[in-house]
C-alpha cells in the first residue's frame, strides 16, 4: 500500500532538501512505482527531529526576532524541545543531539550548565533566562530538564533551598503565588507540587508545604460544569484543568470532584475537525491534545473521545517541509505545539503503533515515563 512507501521515502533528499508528500508522489510516479492512494498522513519523524535540533541556533542567533520575543520563557522552551525529542529518540541520542550534559561546541554551554546560570542562589528559584527573576513556572521547567538529564544530584542543585523557595510561596488559603509579587493561579499549585515531587520533597515525613490545604484550594476552583479555573470563581479552561487535576493527583486527592462530569465536559471539547478546543465555542488547538488527553488518561477515559480523528487532526497540523507542529492545520509551527502534539500522539499510542521504540509520556509529570520510573515518582490515577 501507499503509506509504507511514503514513510520509507520520508527521509529522501534531493540537493540536500527534504521532499514533501507531493514531491515524493511525483518522484515515485516518474519512476513508474505503482501507488495506491490513501488518506493517511505520515508522522514526519525526521523533519521534527531536525526542527527541534535546529531551534537553539535559530533563537540564539544575534538579533533573532523570535529569540528576543520568547527569551523570557526560554527555560520552558528548552524543556518543551528536550521532552519532545525524548519521545522520538533515546536518552543517549537526545543527550548528544541537544548538548544536554556536554556542550555541543564552544559557542554555547551545555543545557545543564545554562540551567544553573538561571538559578538565583539568594532566592532558591530559577528564572526563565539568565538574570531573569525566579518564578515557579521556570523552576518547574528547570527541574524537569535536570530530571531528563539525570542531573538532579548535581552539586549545584540545593534541593532543600529550592524546596524552601517553593514552600515560601504557599498562601494561608493553600494557594501558591508564582513569585514574591503574589500573582495567584492554580498553574502555580501544579508547578509547586510537581517541583517538590521531582526533588523528592513531597511524599516524605517532613512535608515542606501543607499538601491537604493545597488540594483544598484547588478544589475551591471547581465550577458548575465540573471543570476548574485559575482562581476561585474563574471559568473552566482545559489548560487550568490539567494543572488542577495534575495537582490533585500529586496530592492524592482525586476523590474530591466529579470525575464523570469533568470527563464529559472534556470529551465535548472534540470538534467536527477532530481536534480539541479548550472551552465551549472556541477553536480546536493542538495543545489541548495534551491538556485534555492527559487528564482523560488520569481519569481513565481516553476512549471518551474519538482518538482516530484526533490523530488525524494532529498529523494535519504538521509542517511537512520544515518539521514542527502548529496549533491548527496550515499555521506556522512552534516548539510548544510540537511538544504537545507529539505528547497527544504518544498518549493515544499512535507513535508506538508506527514504531515500538518510541518512548511514552507520563500524563501527570509530562516527562518520559522511563524518567518517572527511574526517579520513582508517584502520582494517583483514578483507573
Amino acid at each position: 500500500s501507499y503509506v509504507p512507501a511514503v514513510y520509507f521515502f520520508t527521509n529522501l533528499r534531493i540537493h540536500n532538501k527534504p521532499l514533501n508528500r507531493a514531491q515524493i508522489i511525483n518522484f515515485l510516479i516518474k519512476r513508474k512505482v505503482f501507488i495506491i492512494m490513501g488518506d493517511d498522513v505520515p508522522f514526519y519523524h525526521a523533519r521534527h527531529v531536525s526542527y527541534i535540533t535546529s531551534l537553539a541556533s535559530k533563537l540564539d542567533a544575534k538579533n533573532s526576532y523570535e529569540g528576543s520575543v520568547t527569551e523570557h520563557l526560554r527555560m520552558s522552551g528548552v524543556y518543551w524541545s528536550l521532552a519532545a525529542l525524548s519521545i522520538l529518540k533515546s536518552e543517549e541520542e537526545v543527550d548528544e543531539m541537544m548538548g544536554l550534559n556536554k556542550a555541543l561546541n564552544e559557542t554555547r554551554p551545555s543545557i545543564v550548565d545554562w540551567v544553573f546560570m538561571c538559578y538565583d542562589s539568594n532566592v532558591g528559584g530559577f528564572g526563565g533566562n539568565i538574570g531573569h527573576d525566579a518564578h515557579l513556572l521556570y523552576t518547574l521547567s528547570a527541574v524537569q530538564i535536570l530530571a531528563i538529564a539525570n542531573r538532579l544530584d548535581d552539586e549545584r542543585l540545593d534541593k532543600k533551598k529550592v524546596g524552601v523557595f517553593v514552600a515560601s510561596l504557599q498562601q494561608a488559603d493553600g494557594s501558591f503565588a508564582g513569585d514574591v509579587w503574589g500573582e495567584i493561579d492554580t498553574r502555580f499549585s501544579y508547578c509547586a507540587l510537581s517541583t517538590l515531587s521531582i526533588l523528592g520533597l513531597l511524599n516524605n515525613d517532613d512535608p515542606m508545604i501543607d499538601v491537604d490545604l493545597a488540594a483544598e484550594y484547588v478544589v475551591s476552583c471547581r465550577n458548575f460544569d465540573g471543570g476548574f479555573g485559575c482562581i476561585p470563581g474563574a471559568e473552566s479552561h482545559a489548560g487550568q484543568i490539567f494543572c488542577c487535576i495534575g495537582a490533585l493527583s500529586l496530592a492524592n486527592a482525586l476523590d474530591t470532584f466529579d470525575a464523570e462530569l469533568l470527563s464529559w465536559w472534556l470529551c465535548e471539547r472534540q470538534c467536527d475537525s477532530g481536534g480539541l478546543n479548550g472551552r465551549p465555542e472556541k477553536q480546536a488547538d493542538v495543545c489541548y491534545s495534551w491538556w485534555i488527553l492527559s487528564v482523560l488518561s488520569i481519569l481513565g477515559r481516553v476512549d471518551w473521545i474519538n482518538c482516530t480523528k484526533l490523530v488525524d487532526f494532529i498529523l494535519k497540523c504538521q509542517d511537512d517541509e520544515d518539521g514542527g507542529i502548529a496549533d491548527r492545520p496550515d499555521d506556522m509551527a512552534d516548539v510548544y505545539h510540537t511538544f504537545f502534539g507529539i505528547c497527544g500522539l504518544s498518549l493515544m499510542g499512535h507513535l508506538q503503533k508506527l514504531e515500538s521504540s518510541y518512548r511514552s509520556i507520563d500524563p501527570v509529570y509530562a516527562l518520559p515515563k522511563d524518567v518517572v520510573e527511574r526517579l520513582k515518582l508517584k502520582s494517583q490515577m483514578l483507573r
Partner: protein, 432 residues
C-alpha cells in the same frame, strides 16, 4: 508561531526588507534589556546604591517602552514595581523627617501623590491593547490598586480615601466593559471584574478594609467579631452552599448569619452583578462566561431572597432564560450546561421529591421533545438534556415502561448523531 498562517509567515521571513526590520527591532530590544539588567545589578546592593533618582525614572520609562511592545515578560513588571516602591519609600522617609506634627494635613496624602496609580493603569492598558490576555498586565493592575489602597490608609476610616478608591474602581469597570466588548470570553477580564467588585465591597461601610494577595478579600462584620469563613470578592464565588456549611461544624458563623451581617450596599452590588449577567446573556445566548458567573452568584441570590422566593421558584425563573436560549440557539452549549447545573442542584436538595419538581421535570421534557422535533431529530443537546432529565426522574421518581423505552431510543439516536462520543453514551444505560 501561534495563530499565523504558515505560507504568509514563511514568505515574510524570506522577504529581506521584513527580516531586516525584525532584526532591527530585536537589536533595539536586546540593547534596552541588557542595559536594564546592568542597572538592576547596580541598584541591587544598597550599600553601593549607584542609582540616582534620574536612573530610577529612566528604568520606569524603559520598562514602559519594553512592556508596551512585548507585555509578556513577567520580570520586567517586577523590575518596574521594585523601582516604584523604592521611589515611594525614599520619599516617605523624606516626608516623615519633614513632617509637621501640628499640621492638619494627612501624611498619607503625600504618599499617594508619589505613586501615580493613574499612570500605572495607563501602562497596563497599553499592554492589554497589545495582548488582552497578558497575565502580567492584568496582575500589574491588581497590584497597583492594592498598593494604592494600602498606602492611602485604606484601613483607616477615611471617607475621602474610600471615595477616591471607589472612583478608580468605577473607571476600572469601564475598562472591563471595553475589553469584554472586544472579547466576551476573555476570562482575564471577567476575573478582573470580580476583583473590582470585591474592591467595591471593601469600600462599602461594612466591607473589609484590608486587601489580601491577588484580590482575595475577607469580610469582617461591623464589630469585627468574626473574620469571615465566607470570603467575598474573587472568593465570593465559593460561597458555600447551605449543605456544605451544615457538613462542617461551623455553627457559629452559619450562612444565614453571614448574609444577615452583610450590609445592604453589598447586597445591592451583588444584585447588580446578577443583573449584569442577565444583560450579557440576553445580548448573546452564546455567552458561556456570563452563564458561568451566574452560576457563582446563584447561591447568594437564593440566600438573599429566601424569604420571598423558594428554590423552585428561582429555578423556574432560570428555566425561562434557559428555554429562551436553547430555542434561539439550540446548537450552542452554554445554556445546556447551565440547565444541567440548575436541575442537578435542585435534585440534590430534600425539597426535590415533590409533585412540583416532578411537574417541572416533565415540563422540561416536553420542551426538549418539541425542540428536537422542530430540528428533525438532529438536536444533539436537546437529546442529551432529555436523556439527563429522564435519568434524574428515574433516580428520584422512577420511570414507567414508555419512558424507559424513550430513554433507550434517545441513546440510540445519540450514537447515530454523535459517534465521536460513543463510549460515553455506551455507559449511560439504565440499571433496570
Amino acid at each position: 508561531m501561534h495563530g499565523y498562517k504558515r505560507s504568509d509567515y514563511k514568505a515574510r521571513q524570506r522577504d529581506p526588507t521584513v527580516s531586516a526590520a525584525l532584526e532591527q527591532k530585536a537589536s533595539q530590544w536586546n540593547i534596552l534589556t541588557s542595559n536594564l539588567a546592568k542597572k538592576r545589578l547596580d541598584g541591587s546592593d544598597p550599600s553601593t546604591n549607584k542609582l540616582m533618582k534620574e536612573d530610577l525614572q529612566k528604568i520606569l520609562s524603559v520598562t514602559e517602552k519594553l512592556l508596551t511592545v512585548n507585555p509578556d515578560p513577567l520580570y520586567l513588571y517586577n523590575h518596574r514595581r521594585e523601582v516604584l516602591v523604592l521611589l515611594v519609600q525614599n520619599q516617605a522617609v523624606h516626608l516623615q523627617d519633614n513632617c509637621d506634627p501640628n499640621s492638619d494635613s494627612d501624611p498619607n496624602d503625600g504618599l499617594t501623590t508619589l505613586f501615580d496609580l493613574t499612570h500605572e493603569l495607563k501602562v497596563s492598558t497599553a499592554c492589554l491593547k497589545r495582548n488582552p490576555k497578558a497575565y502580567g498586565a492584568w496582575f500589574h493592575r491588581k497590584w497597583a490598586i492594592q498598593y494604592f489602597m494600602k498606602m492611602s490608609g485604606a484601613d483607616a476610616d477615611g471617607r475621602r480615601h474610600r471615595s477616591n478608591i471607589k472612583r478608580v474602581l468605577d473607571e476600572e469597570l469601564g475598562l472591563c466593559s471595553y475589553f469584554l466588548s472586544k472579547d466576551e470570553r476573555n476570562f482575564h477580564c471577567w476575573n478582573y471584574r470580580r476583583f473590582i467588585m470585591s474592591g467595591q465591597i471593601a469600600c462599602t461601610s461594612r466591607g473589609a478594609k484590608i486587601p489580601i494577595a491577588d484580590g482575595a478579600w475577607s469580610l469582617k462584620n461591623g464589630t469585627g467579631t468574626w473574620t469571615g469563613t465566607v470570603n467575598m470578592g474573587t472568593q465570593l464565588l465559593s460561597l458555600p452552599t447551605q449543605r456544605e456549611l451544615e457538613k462542617t461544624s461551623r455553627s457559629d458563623d452559619s450562612f444565614e448569619e453571614c448574609i444577615e451581617e452583610i450590609s445592604k450596599d453589598i447586597v445591592d452590588l451583588l444584585m447588580s452583578e446578577w443583573a449584569f449577567t442577565t444583560l450579557k446573556i440576553e445580548e448573546n445566548f452564546s455567552n458561556y462566561s456570563a452563564f458561568h458567573y451566574r452560576s457563582k452568584l446563584l447561591p447568594f441570590i437564593y440566600q438573599s431572597q429566601k424569604q420571598i422566593k423558594t428554590w423552585l421558584e428561582l429555578v423556574t425563573e432560570e428555566l425561562e432564560i434557559i428555554n429562551q436560549a436553547i430555542f434561539t440557539e439550540p446548537d450552542d452549549q452554554s445554556a445546556w450546561w447551565y440547565y444541567r447545573f440548575i436541575i442537578s442542584e435542585m435534585m440534590k436538595s430534600e425539597e426535590s421529591r415533590t409533585d412540583e419538581s416532578l411537574a417541572l421535570l416533565d415540563g422540561q421534557c416536553d420542551n426538549f421533545r418539541e425542540l428536537v422535533e422542530a430540528e428533525d431529530g438532529k438536536c444533539k443537546w436537546g437529546l442529551i438534556a432529555l436523556q439527563t432529565t429522564l435519568l434524574w426522574k428515574h433516580e428520584t421518581f422512577g420511570l414507567d415502561n414508555q419512558s424507559t423505552q424513550e430513554y433507550n431510543q434517545i441513546l440510540n439516536q445519540l450514537l447515530e448523531l454523535d459517534p465521536n462520543r460513543a463510549a460515553r453514551y455506551g455507559q449511560l444505560g439504565l440499571n433496570v
